[in-house]
């Protein structure tokens, strides 16, 4: 058992997976430059010392190296690609949306694409192009599994599952949850660290975790928003509200059963997300609730999200933009009390 930040947990997991399986390798920009940072957020720091031939530093060429990772995966390697900032995936959309998720399907199921794309996300004082939560962009792209570790424990278990999966997996990592240290530390960071057991555990995709039990309302949130939802739930307990917080941990596949069971108990549903509201995670959850949970619901579903604008830079505007603990608490209160 060892206490680790998410960045450390990811690093140790990548290291142990590379030791376990010689087909596993890392590819991306600035991931393994001696004297560098180990990717933008220290996750791969120092791994080039143990694996000089399996840490592939690339030119700044997101579409190119994403396609290279795909080709290598088709030939039996197991790449872990790192895109520095999720926003950069817009440069790689042909490979991410047209090639990687469709290759197995187009082949009639003959091919496998064991590829992991690591995607740092979250609004963090960097303005509009280093801030986006890319999950909702990829939810409609059939053929990708999307996972969101909010804790170091989950980061280890989900990343192990991802690396060992024969399907392409995107792992969304929140910049404020990494616990990166030194020059790469984030202001406004939230502690996502966990005690990591020594055993080789994995977390299956599609298994949500109830982070907090409650009876009045169900809140569904991932990553940073899950932590803020927990804080909101704690503050509301003092006011007598009993809030259940569910962390789906993976968006594709999605653990509908856990959400349904919770809504059946509470009768109310609030979704919280850091990305714009339009066609967001909450939209999918609310639509499914409308289709399949109406008999349980005693109040309209409420979606807490960022507005439909890019992320602004000025700290006061950024604070307004990202759902805060107070905003989440107010939304929950309104849903419960009407």
């Amino acid at each position: 058992m060892q206490r680790m930040s998410i960045a450390e947990a990811l690093r140790e997991t990548i290291k142990s997976e590379m030791r376990r399986d010689p087909r596993v390798f890392c590819i991306g920009e600035d991931i393994a430059i001696p004297g560098g940072w180990g990717g933008a957020f220290t996750v791969t720091l120092g791994l080039e010392k143990e694996f000089p031939d399996r840490m592939i530093n690339t030119p700044i060429a997101e579409n190119g190296f994403t396609g290279v990772a795909l080709g290598a995966a088709l030939m039996g390697m197991r790449p872990i690609a790192d895109v520095q900032y999720g926003d950069f995936l817009y440069c790689a959309m042909d490979q991410m949306a047209n090639q990687i998720p469709k290759m197995r399907y187009m082949s009639g199921g003959k091919l496998t694409v064991p590829l992991v794309m690591r995607v740092p996300v979250g609004v963090t004082g960097r303005g509009a192009q280093h801030s986006q939560s890319m999950e909702t962009l990829f939810m409609p792209v059939a053929g990708l599994k999307l996972v969101c570790p909010a804790t170091a424990y989950d980061a280890v278990g989900l990343l192990r599952t991802a690396v060992r999966s024969d399907d392409p997996v995107m792992i969304f990592e929140h910049k404020k949850l990494y616990g990166s240290k030194g020059a790469r530390a984030e202001s406004g960071a939230v502690d996502g660290s966990s005690d990591i057991p020594d055993e080789d555990y994995t977390i299956p995709f599609g298994s949500a975790v109830v982070r907090r039990q409650g009876t009045d309302v169900t809140v569904v949130a991932t990553l940073m928003m899950m932590h803020r939802s927990l804080q909101a739930a704690e503050s509301l307990q003092k006011e007598g509200l009993s809030v259940e917080v569910i962390d789906p941990r993976s968006l594709v596949p999605f653990d509908w059963a856990t959400v349904k069971a919770s809504v059946a108990k509470t009768g109310r549903l609030v979704t919280v997300e850091e990305n714009p509201k339009q066609s967001g995670i909450g939209a999918e959850i609310a639509a499914t609730a409308a289709e399949e949970m109406m008999e349980s619901l005693v109040a309209p579903v409420c979606r807490v999200a960022a507005p439909n604008t890019p992320a602004p830079f000025a700290p006061v505007m950024e604070e307004f933009y990202v759902p805060s603990v107070e905003r989440i608490a107010a939304a929950i209160t309104k849903v419960v009390k009407g």
């Binding site: 390798f25 031939d53 399996r54 592939i56 690339t58 030119p59 060429a61 579409n63 190119g64 190296f65 994403t66 396609g67 290279v68 990772a69 795909l70 080709g71 290598a72 995966a73 088709l74 030939m75 039996g76 390697m77 042909d94 490979q95 047209n98 090639q99 290759m103 197995r104 399907y105 187009m106 082949s107 009639g108 199921g109 003959k110 091919l111 496998t112 059939a142 053929g143 599994k145 999966s165 024969d166 399907d167 995709f205 599609g206 594709v252 596949p253 999605f254 289709e291 399949e292």
Partner: protein, 332 residues
């Protein structure tokens, strides 16, 4: 026309393969215009020497990536005529079980990644195949086929640069048929040749007569050998001409009449037949026999494909994930 390997078997093998591609495409075009074949098609008439010459320099376990115009590459690499024909008909017995169709033809067992129908998209993928060969220390080579249009894509630049800096075992083969769809390539690039772009990546680049199958073979053989020896990529620009439409029912009004007529005289199969006859490698009767054998083979494939079972509609839900997690069927 010269070849390092001049045995009659080898030469007639090239001829047979090129003629197979031509006859396959002619039959497919007919079926398509008859209305019995679904979808759309991008055909390879006139470019046969490119695929056949390059693939003759490859081993079965070498890997190619292809384009939206993949039938010639697939046949040249050894994908089966029957599986291809069935795939074009959208049948369960197709090489992609009906999930790929014309533009995603392929069979990795024969060394062909399902064709990539986004221009330039296959170039990074082929480069990644080559990276895997190098990392695993396997003596295999990748070839990324593309058209002249692909070199305007960022994917081309990004991938060729990576192939070059890592000295990967790959050959980048640009089939310059003078038109990206209907746009003349001279109107979208300032440089005289595509081959000269290789200089900017620090790799060799050669412009080759792509309608001379032996010239293509020789250039490919040298580039493949170089790649297999760990000396890195080569860029080959094969000058050729598409003597059919870009896609279905394209009357090619953008191709000047004189250019087209000259191209028809220069098409690779007739040229190679004349070479074989002049060199007394075969007589006309022998060439005709090859043609008749291919006609019969293709007819068998057409009949089999038409008789083959359709996939079940709900098979559309299969083959997305290894474990099928995440496929949510509609509730209705």
């Amino acid at each position: 026309m010269k070849a390092d390997v001049q045995t009659p078997e080898f030469l007639l093998g090239l001829y047979r393969k090129m003629l197979l591609v031509r006859k396959f495409e002619e039959r497919v075009k007919f079926l398509f215009l008859e209305g019995v074949m679904p979808g759309t098609i991008h055909q390879y008439h006139g470019q046969e020497a490119c695929a056949v010459g390059v693939c003759a320099a490859l081993r079965t376990d070498d890997v190619i990536t292809s384009t939206h115009r993949p039938h010639g590459h697939a046949l040249a690499k050894g994908v089966g005529v029957q599986e291809m024909m069935a795939e074009l008909f959208g049948k369960a017995t197709g090489c992609c079980k009906g999930k790929g169709g014309s533009m995603h033809m392929g069979d990795l067992a024969r060394g062909m990644v399902p064709a990539v129908a986004i221009v330039g998209g296959g170039v990074p993928i082929g480069t990644g195949c080559a990276l895997a060969f190098k990392m695993k220390n396997e003596p295999r080579v990748a070839v990324s086929f593309m058209g002249d249009g692909a070199v305007s894509e960022g994917a081309f630049h990004e991938a060729v640069n990576m192939g070059a800096i890592w000295s990967l075992p790959i050959v980048y083969v640009v089939e310059n048929n003078l038109y990206g769809a209907s746009t003349p390539y001279r109107s979208v690039m300032r440089a005289e040749t595509i081959a000269e772009r290789a200089t900017s990546y620090g790799i060799p680049g050669h412009r080759i007569d792509g309608n001379d199958v032996l010239a293509v073979y020789n250039a490919a053989q040298a580039a493949v050998t170089r790649a297999r020896e760990g000396k890195g990529p080569t860029l080959l620009e094969l000058m050729t001409y598409r003597i059919t439409g870009h896609s279905r029912r394209d009357p090619c009004l953008y191709q000047p009449k004189e250019e087209r007529e000259a191209a028809l005289k220069n098409e690779p199969i007739g040229r190679f037949a004349r070479h074989l006859l002049a060199g007394k490698v075969a007589d006309q009767a022998a060439l005709d026999r090859i043609g008749a054998e291919l006609d019969a083979e293709i007819e068998v494939a057409v009949k089999a494909a038409m008789a083959a079972p359709e996939p079940r509609p709900e098979d559309a839900l299969k083959d997305l994930f290894v474990d099928q997690q995440g496929v949510k069927t509609c509730n209705a």
